[in-house]
Symmetry: C2
Subunit: 328 residues, 2 copies
Amino acid sequence: MTLPVVLVTHQPAEPIRDAFLGVFAGAAELHFLPELSEDSRRDALRSARAVLTYHPIRDLGIDALAQLENCGLMQCLTAGIDYLPFGDLPDHIAVAYNAGAYAKPMAEHVGAMALSAAKRLAGEHRLMKQGEFNQFVPTKKVAGMTCGILGYGETGREVARLMRALGMNIQAVNRSGMTDEQVDFIGTLYDVDRVLAASDVVVITLALTKTTDRLIRAAQLGAMKPDAILINVARGEIVDEDDLYAHLVDNPEFTACLEAWWIEPVRHGRFETAHPFLDLPNVIASPHNSAMTDGSLITAAERGAENVLRFLKGETPRFIAGDDVRMV
Amino acid sequence: MTLPVVLVTHQPAEPIRDAFLGVFAGAAELHFLPELSEDSRRDALRSARAVLTYHPIRDLGIDALAQLENCGLMQCLTAGIDYLPFGDLPDHIAVAYNAGAYAKPMAEHVGAMALSAAKRLAGEHRLMKQGEFNQFVPTKKVAGMTCGILGYGETGREVARLMRALGMNIQAVNRSGMTDEQVDFIGTLYDVDRVLAASDVVVITLALTKTTDRLIRAAQLGAMKPDAILINVARGEIVDEDDLYAHLVDNPEFTACLEAWWIEPVRHGRFETAHPFLDLPNVIASPHNSAMTDGSLITAAERGAENVLRFLKGETPRFIAGDDVRMV
């Protein structure tokens, strides 16, 4: 029996390599592109039924992409694929994103940011250094808060589970406006303003698409509670950078927890902001590391590989990028 | 019918005054000391069956204490009563502390500190300001961690509920070495070293007593995991200040979350540390404000008043200070 060929476009770390081999054992012939000679490389590209990749253009190049004659699925290992130039990809290859692969670590990171903001941890530490000991200035009670989640997909629902465990009520928007989960409100992107107005904490877990690009501007920020906590773990572009900065300066009780940035190393080769967000006392910043906990890359790799396995068995793979999630 | 007299030794804010009046409606005659004329004050002291107080010595004075001839219960509104000079209190008055009155806000604060430390929020923000963008340095996964709780009373158990909701396993010590709750291990103070060695996060919610004074010294810190997170929301004195500072300097992966301090305004009139803890990158500091969320003082006041009501009805009041919780 000839096994179908699956091509991994990069050289993964040993535990991830092992995870791939484990998932495909007996079900596929696995090749790691950097390990192949030039001839084998050509064969592997021709025969591959599926490709596992972080970044197909960078790892394969346009010429190699054209050789993927038998490939039916390009499985990305990242959850967001807004960086992919879909126009350059062969039409016969479906692209799957790794939705929710990092949902658990990201939900913990969101919880850390929300609690840290509610309890003013960074701010009071700073004030203590200046000699202030504000024992009797109330912090926020988290239980009973309303958490608005923009993007109620895999990550959004995992965030909801954690926030619910902290005693928060959930209001959410997704594409369908429907969910089986226990929420106070579920709607679509048309309901964003309503959710923003009702929420003490707003978490953005949307994919960046033409529709969500700069979804949150001055008007939306103005619709939020003046002391709300806004957490963006998706993509910087979903929030208007200038509008957010102005809002933070004008509303010192408002907190922004920024994990996703507008210009950041992985996508742009550098970290850069148009305004000094990092110096504002009402900003909590993290370097887009919410997905990175010990072992999280292995979990994500397994999840991506299992989706490929689904495809090889003739089942429908999950999270195929339709036109609605294609950014460019 | 003559109602028993309950004396409140201070002038509470309106919502707390209302809470007291609500609890005792029809069950006691309530007097607020600062509202009384000198004569009424004398009568109130003589007739009071119970006293509700934040600080009996400061609010009443030694002379007034001697006039509490009919008083059977002094209900403190604070959870910790280590500051009380028991030797100066009349022997016929039982003293109750307000155990767990602030358990919920304190548990949220502990959760905020644990998550903030696990995700290195403050540290990475600081490094971003210095131009570092550490997207691929893993943070800690919280689910699956072991949380050791020293002092499994009202507050400790509330902390456990929150930590369990975050996916942590609980090891705890209390006075009895027993609990009905779902824990991986329960022991007594004799088991502290074992719990310290097993825990990723250690939370101190013990009362300060002769037994717990400087319970955590160099040897105990040395028994902990080198990258453990130590959270003290009880009393500074339970941890040796010099030993902790030395341990933090020697173990940069170890984090101390300090909410309770050695010299702090409410107990000592000033905030002071023997070492520059606030400047260490592996310290998260808060100004003993974990109990203070919107409404938490009202909840605590009601809880204290309900304990007094229990006493007036002839039931046994809860949380009577035995010799084992008396510090001085």
